[in-house]
């Protein structure tokens, strides 16, 4: 009898993919991991939507636009355990440093008045997700079950967390693995 593999979905919202890169730093431990884990929706698989029985959703990045909100809600609906991964998911991180500048000023700086801008215009297309007024951490939008701090969390953090969960233990990070930087 083979035990059913645990389904893990991952996504990067308003993040830089650094957390995903750090996850890949698991290197040869990934081989052990896929013995027990099957990747569902993730930039690593190109699966576009979560299947409705995902076990773990790992979310990198905060919420900066309307699409992020929809994706995050899909993850909450489809995943049993939702994990905020990294500084941006936890407190908005670097993208949230725009929160004390008005959206209008941000857009003007980037697309109208910034140095080297050619053909200045604010992008506006139905295909483009609308920017939110402020960047928000995940827990302000949906319930989050666990948080993995770090910018990015090291591969050891992912390993400690996932091996705890897979072994049926309550995940607990040792002191050495809790970092906000």
């Amino acid at each position: 009898m083979t035990t059913k593999k645990v389904k893990v979905a991952t996504v990067s919202l308003a993040g830089c993919f650094g957390c995903h890169m750090s996850f890949l730093d698991l290197d040869e431990r990934l081989v052990d991991l896929v013995e027990h884990v099957q990747f569902d929706r993730s930039p690593l698989t190109d699966i576009e939507h979560c299947s409705d029985d995902c076990d773990i959703g790992l979310i990198e990045g905060g919420v900066c636009n309307s699409e992020n909100v929809h994706v995050l809600r899909e993850f909450r609906k489809q995943c049993k355990i939702l994990v905020a991964v990294g500084a941006c998911a936890i407190n908005g991180g670097l993208p949230a440093m725009r929160n004390h500048i008005s959206l209008e000023d941000c857009l003007n700086e980037a697309y109208m008045d910034g140095i080297g801008v050619e053909n200045p215009q604010i992008p506006s297309d139905v295909e483009l997700p609308l920017l939110l007024d402020k960047v928000h951490p995940l827990h302000e939008v949906v319930k989050i079950d666990y948080f993995l701090p770090g910018c990015p969390p090291s591969a050891d953090v992912f390993w400690a967390f996932l091996t705890d969960l897979l072994a049926g233990r309550e995940p607990a990070l040792p002191y050495e693995l809790i970092h906000f930087d």
């Binding site: 936890i90 407190n91 928000h136 302000e140 809790i178 906000f180």
Partner: protein, 239 residues
């Protein structure tokens, strides 16, 4: 005979006039704190040092030790309260540790690590606070000030200058600088002042020193704040 009280089952000797915090640190017992610094008169504002004394919660940094007290310092409930307080400090300011020079050396962050805090729990204020980089050697990033008043006390009690004060109340509380323009450059602050070096967070920073010690080799990267605090307490007594 020495007078004693009990913290978490351990007998602590004390002298009259000592606070619970002073007696505990001298006896090698760490009580979480941020606004307390053994060099200065206690302020009792951050409430991280809240302990239970004979059934009542008190601030250990201001509460006098007395004979026969039964004090609880470590309990799930007290540590959860401390975590919530720390989370409130994080959401009230703007703490983006990856871009803060103080990271790894910051007591606010180290207390969070110590309490096993992995998230901020509350909605963030994302309030707009100023940075004052006007002084040639020292800068203030108000985004990271937790109003512990240590700079205020250091300037007053050690430097004899009164460069800093807290103005306003409650949510409108702000650190203000005593100068005609309100800017640090027009104040009496000198880079060698105690007040320039006392901040437990990254709110007051010395310019051009930020990364002299690389991230990963900083005070709290590997050591718990309780061990660091007790060791420095020991040093203070040896000298």
């Amino acid at each position: 005979m020495t007078k004693t009280f009990v913290i978490d089952g351990k007998t602590i000797p004390f002298e009259d006039g000592q606070t619970i915090m002073q007696a505990a640190s001298a006896a090698g017992v760490y009580i979480t704190h941020l606004c307390h610094n053994p060099q200065f008169t206690p302020h009792g504002s951050c409430k991280l040092c809240t302990v239970n004394v004979n059934g009542r919660n008190c601030s250990a940094c201001t509460f006098p030790a007395s004979e026969g007290q039964n004090v609880t310092n470590i309990s799930k409930e007290l540590n959860e309260d401390r975590e919530k307080i720390t989370q409130m400090l994080f959401v009230e300011g703007n703490h983006f540790c990856p871009s803060c020079e103080k990271t790894g050396n910051c007591q606010l962050q180290a207390v969070a690590y110590h309490l096993n805090m992995t998230d901020n729990h509350f909605p963030h204020f994302f309030e707009n606070r100023e940075v004052d980089a006007s002084h040639p050697d020292v800068m203030i990033d108000h985004n990271r000030c937790i109003f512990c008043t240590l700079c205020v006390r250091a300037s007053e009690q050690v430097d004899g200058k009164n460069v800093f004060a807290i103005s306003g109340r409650g949510i409108d509380k702000r650190l203000v600088v005593n100068s005609p323009s309100g800017l640090l450059k027009d104040s009496a602050l000198d880079v060698s002042d105690c007040a320039a070096h006392i901040c437990p967070t990254g709110a007051i920073l010395i310019k051009r020193t930020g990364y002299s010690v690389p991230i990963g080799q900083r005070i709290y990267d590997h050591a718990h704040i309780d061990a660091v605090a007790l060791a420095s307490e020991g040093e203070a007594h040896d000298h």
